[in-house]
Amino acid sequence: MARAYTPLVVLAMVLFAVAPLAVAFAPPEQVMGLIQRIFYYHVPSAMMLFLSAFVCGIASAVFLFKRSARADRIAVSAGELAIVFGLIVMVTGPLWGRKFWGVWWQWDAKLTSAFLLWMIFVAYLLVRRYGGPGAEKLGAAMALFGMANVPFVYVAANYWRTLHPTTNVVMTLAPGMRGPFWLCVAAFLLLYGLLLTLRKRLEDQRAAVEQLYLALDE
């Protein structure tokens, strides 16, 4: 992985450099016009939020059942990434909404559940950082709760009355929009993998520091 890291960073940079051009050349949406182009970064960010919630939840489950320290370190890393990508979703969404809906925010099922999902991971990280002894287990349970919330957030727009577009939008994208969208998804996915690897390395080093402190105390 270490040998492949630099070429992958270069590839991610190329993808992120090409993505705005691809988005600029995508056909404008009939009703929303220019503002619809937020979609190309907003939706991949939401996908990474969901992915992070799943990675954090699954790693937490492995930690709870197998007591794997490695799984716990992956969970913390993914939890932090969920907050970063969640923040992007929480800012780009209202910017889109203000122009198209006329309001920054609406407390409907989709937006509220997405905000709650983000808050769960903020709380998760606070518990992990300041929870003291036993915070790993409590945090793992919170991560599982956060992961369980993801399907609800995903389908919320399909079942409840909301201003947010349904999940059908991605599946029915016009051919000209499909390419730029999946290019952005690929760029975000690659960046996500790289950030998770980097963040996990930081956790590994933190664990090594703790081990050395213990060795010094003995």
């Binding site: 992007i88 209202p94 609406q106 903020v122 606070l126 300041y130 980097l198 050395l212 010094l216």
Partner: protein, 92 residues
Amino acid sequence: MKRRMTTTIVLMLLTAGSLFAASQPPPGTGGQGEFVPVSTLPSVEQLPAAPFLIGAYVVVWLALLVYVWSIWRRMKKIERDLADLRKRVQSR
């Protein structure tokens, strides 16, 4: 540590508060909870899309760059600690 936690909680409350303050009734819900005379309705807003679009893209790039920088900074600090501790362990 306490100060950092307080800052985080204040930021969370500010985010929630600003979202709450920003929420307005959706367009077209007049008649559900109250009757609004047409004469009192504000004129339709004509907002330019470009500032919102550019703002959104700037937020994405900025958030990612700040996050990468924060990882790099933490990494440097931990590497320094690690090297220092290794020296101390070896010198014992």
